[in-house]
Amino acid sequence: MRKKVLFVTIALLAAALLTGCAGGAVRGTTWPGLAADDNTAYLADGPYVYAISLKDGKQLWRYPAASDRNLLFYSTPVVTPDGLVIVGSAGKNNSLIALNPADINQNTNNINSPAVAWTFNGAKDHWFAAPLVVKDKLFAVNVDGYLYVLNLTDGQSTKKAVKAIDIGGRLWAQPTTDGERIFLTSLDHSVIAVNVETYEALWHEDIEGAVASSAVLGTDGMLYVGSLASQLERFDPATGSHEPVFSAEDWIWSTPSLDSDTLYFGDLDGNFYSFSTSTGKLNWPPVKPDGPITASPLVLGDSILIATESGSVYQVSQSGQSKLWSQPGGQIYTTPIQVGDLILVAPLGTEAYLYAYNQDGSQAWQPFIPQN
């Protein structure tokens, strides 16, 4: 009997350990996506997408109203010009969903939830990247290696792609555009340009390492990409010719942030760089806060905020002086955003899901904890 109990206990423990490490609708499988419009923050965090009032930090709605095992949200939501909130799911059904915050329903538990304006179920894999809106088209990249072009104005409730372009590899990062071309980065060591009107592939260039972040257009007209081979690569957007312009100490995970002719970015060793696209050199020696940097820096008026995996936010002056600005705790992987005077920070591993700060680092309202 004792042996039986021992066996069953070990079996259950193993099952629990495995289950705990598996996917599914679990917060913390990866980090949340954060976006905002003038009045509302949108947080895609595991099983739900939350809308949070920027006035007081209260929950306005969540989607879905009740947990759905087929839905799992990590990708940064995008707000379209007509007010829809578009977010991709990394759940079983791989759907891209447009929510309509103007059409709210309340369920029996008094949970507000928006109506679904349309869905797109044509992708074969998960959505990690935020889509890009260009005029009346949506350019959405999926882990299945396709760039899907959707028409935002066709009124269809179940979207079909205007065009599905096989880029190949795994596409994790939001596309970038210069108005004429769409630039894509792939985990399979490549950077691609596609014509924004004809969807024709213009060039497809291989680089040394995987790219998990988006490309950035510099004020010099060149395209910059950070890679997991620790290189900052510069591309000619017209031809795709490229060269590495800077070697970091470790993987460059996040999309560099641009301020005039300066690119700010961090690496997984915790170095923060200020790179001048004019001189091709660092403006000052790397600043090293308290942990790896996976979030993009947030450029404020005269300083830059950088979030670290150690759960801290540092403020760095334009001359490279850094100081601790706030410390919500947990791990911060999500890029902080600025809306008006507020700075929003979404850490992982904390009881609260979203923190709002004033410019001086003081908290604007009680950190957001979801309503059950």
Binding site: F7, A14, L18, A22, A90, G209, T294
Partner: protein
């Protein structure tokens, strides 16, 4: 890094190294890694076979059979006498199930290693960057790992669509091979009070269900490990002439 995380990192690094050596085939890397694990755990398996053989011999021992009869109605006394004989003959009744139990931490570590090595979510890829302890591995060059093997995506549960029904092929193969392996290694026993035989019988029923459940719900890379490990186990027993094929037949154990 905690000891457990270090353990996982070793698995991840060995998997990545094999993946690199075999031409970026992650399925093949898992199969070779399983063979490596079988080699490392060989002494345990040998101990299991030795323990199983000793238990089998015990069933025909006169003293053993005598106490079974004598204390047939006194289970407590019977257990005491059985323990005495185990002690005297230096037989561990647990030795036959130890290798099975030792599989659990390996299964958990392997599952975490597969998901981490495949880096199929940003957080998994980030964890992978922290798991590199072999300095000769050029991980930025290796990632992303090719997760496709035959018809499977090794980072996801497997099923084949047949007439619109998702048929879990691998889970079935895992359950069958686990059952066969358990049955082949089960010592013959005619004694209804034999706790060891009862334990083996229970394991031969529960393990296929448990591992089949894991195969059904977790990354198919884990199923590749189960199947390879089971087939190697069956081959090992067969080559040593210890496989009890009669156990596979209905009522075969009683013969």
């Amino acid at each position: 890094m905690s000891p457990w995380q270090y353990f996982i990192s070793i698995f991840v690094n060995v998997l990545l190294w094999i993946y690199d050596v075999v031409g970026h085939n992650f399925g093949l890397a898992i199969i070779l890694f399983t063979i490596l694990i079988r080699i490392v755990t060989w002494p345990l398996n040998a101990q299991q076979m030795k323990g199983a053989a000793a238990m089998q011999e015990l069933q025909n021992d006169k003293e053993w059979q005598a106490i079974q009869k004598k204390y047939a109605k006194d289970r407590e006394k019977l257990a005491q006498e059985q323990m005495r004989i185990y002690r005297e003959r230096k037989i561990s009744p647990f030795s036959s199930c130890l290798p099975t139990l030792i599989q659990f931490p390996i299964i958990i570590a392997l599952y975490q290693s597969i998901t981490r090595a495949l880096g199929s979510t940003p957080l998994d890829l980030l964890k992978l960057s922290r798991s590199i302890i072999f300095p000769f591995l050029n991980v930025p060059d290796l990632i992303p790992l090719h997760s496709k093997f035959l018809w499977m995506d090794l980072g996801r549960p497997e099923s084949i669509a047949i007439f619109g029904f998702a048929f879990p092929t691998l889970a079935l193969i895992v359950a069958i091979t686990t059952y066969i392996q358990a049955k082949l290694t089960m010592p013959a026993s005619t004694n209804p009070n034999d706790q060891s035989a009862a334990m083996s019988k229970m394991m031969s029923l529960y393990m296929p269900l448990l591992l089949g459940y894991f195969a059904l719900n977790f990354a198919s890379g884990l199923s590749i490990y189960f199947i390879t490990s089971n087939l190697l186990g069956i081959a090992q027993y067969a080559m040593q002439g210890k496989a009890n094929w009669r156990n596979l037949l209905p009522g075969g154990q009683k013969k």
